[in-house]
Structure formats: C-alpha cells, structure tokens
Subunit: 194 residues, 2 copies
DNA sequence: GCCATTTTGGTACGCTAGTACCAGAAATGG
DNA sequence: CCATTTCTGGTACTAGCGTACCAAAATGGC
C-alpha cells in the first residue's frame, strides 16, 4: 500500500528509514515488523498498513540504503580533482565507493554489502533491485576511472570489483576481521602498472 | 555433550549428517532442532541431549560438510595426472575444488559456500572452524598448482580465490544466476599466460 | 461543516522456535 | 546380576514471529 496523505507519506518514510537502520546494524534477520515499528516510534500495525508484507518492507529499506550509497559515490565523483589521483589516494577512493567511507560503522556496513549479495541467492524477489543498484555502481566506477585519467573497459571494472569482493568475504573469517585492509592490498597490487 | 555409548555415537552422527543436509539445501536458517530431528528420524529431545545449543549443532554440521569437501579435493589431487593439465581442464579442476563438482545440486551447494563466509561475519563462534577449513583449502590449491607444473606463491593463491569468490557473489544477483560460468570466465583470463 | 475515505493503534490469533523437564528404558561395569 | 550411568522420547513452557481485525480518530473534497 502506498500513502495518500503527506503525513502518511512521512510515516511511511520513517518506517523505511528505521528498517534501513536495522538492516545495516543487524542484517536481514533484524528487520522485523515489531523492531521497525518500535525504532520508528510507530505502532506495530503501521508496518502492515503501509507494506503488504515484510518482503516489501525489506525491499524498500534496501533500496533506500543502496540509493544513499550511490548518492555518496556520485558526490565523490563530482568533487574529484583529476590531478590528485595518485596511486594510493585513488585506491582509497575506489574502496570508499565499494565498501563505504572508512569512518563509518565499518564492520557492519561492509558486512551488509555482502550479506545482501548472498541473501539475493535465496531471495529472488531482491534480484531486480540488486541488479539495478549493482549496474549503477559499475557505471559509477567506470566514470571514476575515466575522470581519473585511467580509463578502463567494463570487463576490467568487473574484475576489480570481483577482486575486492572476494578479498572481503575471505577476510570475514579472521579473528579480528579487517576486510578493508585485505581488499586494499589486493586492489593496490592489481592496479599497479605492470 | 558427547556420546558415551556406540549407539549414542551413531545417533549423534545421524543428527550431524541430517543437519549438514539441511544446511546445504536451505542454508543456516534451515538448521532447526525439529527439522534436524525429523530428518534423522529421531525425537526432538535427542538434539538437545547431544548438543548443548543450536550453535553447537550448526558448527558440527559445518565441520562435517567442510571436511567432506576437503576430502573430495584431496582425492582429486591424488588422482591428478600432471600430463593432462591443459589450460581448460585445469581451470575446471580449480573450480571443482572451489565451488564443488559441476554435477552437484550446484546452485545451492555453491550458495552455501558463500553464505557461510558471510554468516561468519555475524557469528564469531564459527570463525575458528572457518579459518581451519579455509587454511586447508588454500594448502590444497597450492599443492594442486605445484603438481600441475604451475607452482604459485601463497599470495597468488589468495588472489585467484578472491577473484573466483568475487565473481560468484556478483553473479548471484542475476535473474538466472550461473556463478560457475562467471567464475570460470574470470579465472581463465587470470590464469592465461601473459 | 459534512461525509466518505484514509489512517491509527490496541489487541488477538495461529504458528514456530529454543529449550527445559522427567519418568522410564537401555546399557554399562564391577 | 544389580546399581549406576546413559539415553530416550513425549510433553510443555515461554518467547517471538507475521498477520488479521476493527472500532475510533483524523483527514480531505465538496
């Protein structure tokens, strides 16, 4: 169900944001009707009033969060000074786009980026959204490389993303996981001129 | 709790195998006391009698499954004919070790390999086990490359694994996911002599 | 201001979950 | 062969879940 009144629209949005926050901090399993309602300061029934099912709520939360991430990436692209694209800074820029800015809650935000990929394997209803978000991220990276004076083909973009993603998921099993550091090492090596 | 009688040991093992089967077919969420007991043909209470908690049961199931996978890999290594390590066949061999043999239920078995990596992010109790299994897989690949006459360093092994893993998780969001094909493409390109 | 529509929020239902309990059966060892 | 440990399996408790329901309140168009 979609809201018809301004106040209703605000409440609906509050629910989406609450769900997104829960998604980031606790993963898909944390997005529950009651938890979302409580976090948004709204009654339980509001969640079923504005969303036909939990899946719909999860989808909306994921879209909200994914769109925010992309907006951050686009901002970084816009403010990019082609001159200051030395190797190290550029590697960090790419990592910021793929894993989120370093300052963030980090561990959990990074984790969510991969939980949602894997979760999509068992939740086909997420696929259209995930494809859309993923496609935009690819485009963004493509543009960033171009603006930085290191144009690359789409295949190369996919390769670098795969390398980072693989490094991250393998780093998650460490006692004190530092996925960003692992990804950084591999990305730096792959990007250095040969 | 660990069994003290032969029959008890057999029942315990039946529970572990039932849990592992559920793990493969439905992921972590499918491993429930009742489901495991039913699949093993045992009463509900047997699950709490032999395992102090669900986490313990999940851990045992994961260890069982992981060890079976490694045994398969070791068998492939043992029967490897260094002569027949042409490029294509070798790529498939590596994929068999990383994703499981192609004939398998496939989609679900591959998915589990990545669910467990990501799940480890939110389930620290799995980390020691996952590190152990992952370390053995690395060793195995290292040996395979050596025996195939293409010795590589540990860093290179990690790179190739990351590439495959990243390709897979990114393939999971396709409408009709074919993670093996995606991984195959990237791995073949990365391994071809430059 | 009136009335149809939308929204609210408290409550309840049916279900599944993890886990606890315990009388009795089976196995074990001295 | 008996005493003790180990095991069995039916049952029940509490908690949390998604979802449905519905009387009352708020809202918006006329």
């Amino acid at each position: 169900m979609t809201a018809a009144t301004p106040k209703g629209e605000r409440r609906r949005q509050a629910l989406v944001e609450a769900a997104a926050a829960l998604l980031v901090s606790g993963g898909f399993d944390a997005v529950r009707h009651r938890a979302v309602a409580e976090r948004a300061g709204l009654p339980l029934a509001s969640t079923t009033y504005y969303f036909d099912s939990l899946d719909e709520l999860v989808t909306a939360a994921l879209e909200f969060h994914g769109t925010a991430e992309l907006a951050y990436g686009k901002a970084r692209l816009a403010e990019l000074e082609p001159a200051e694209c030395g190797g190290d800074a550029f590697v960090d820029l790419v990592l910021d786009l793929l894993l989120g800015p370093v300052g963030e809650v980090d561990a959990e935000a990074v984790l969510l980026r991969y939980e949602r990929l894997v979760a999509t394997g068992r939740r086909p209803y997420l696929r259209p959204l995930m494809r859309e978000l993923s496609g935009q991220l690819h485009d963004l990276l493509h543009d960033i490389f171009a603006k930085a004076g290191q144009p690359v083909g789409r295949e190369r973009v996919e390769e670098l993303i795969a390398l980072v993603d693989g490094a991250v998921v393998n780093a998650l099993i460490e006692i004190s996981p530092d996925p960003r550091a692992a990804a950084r090492r591999m990305l730096a090596k792959a990007m250095q001129p040969r």
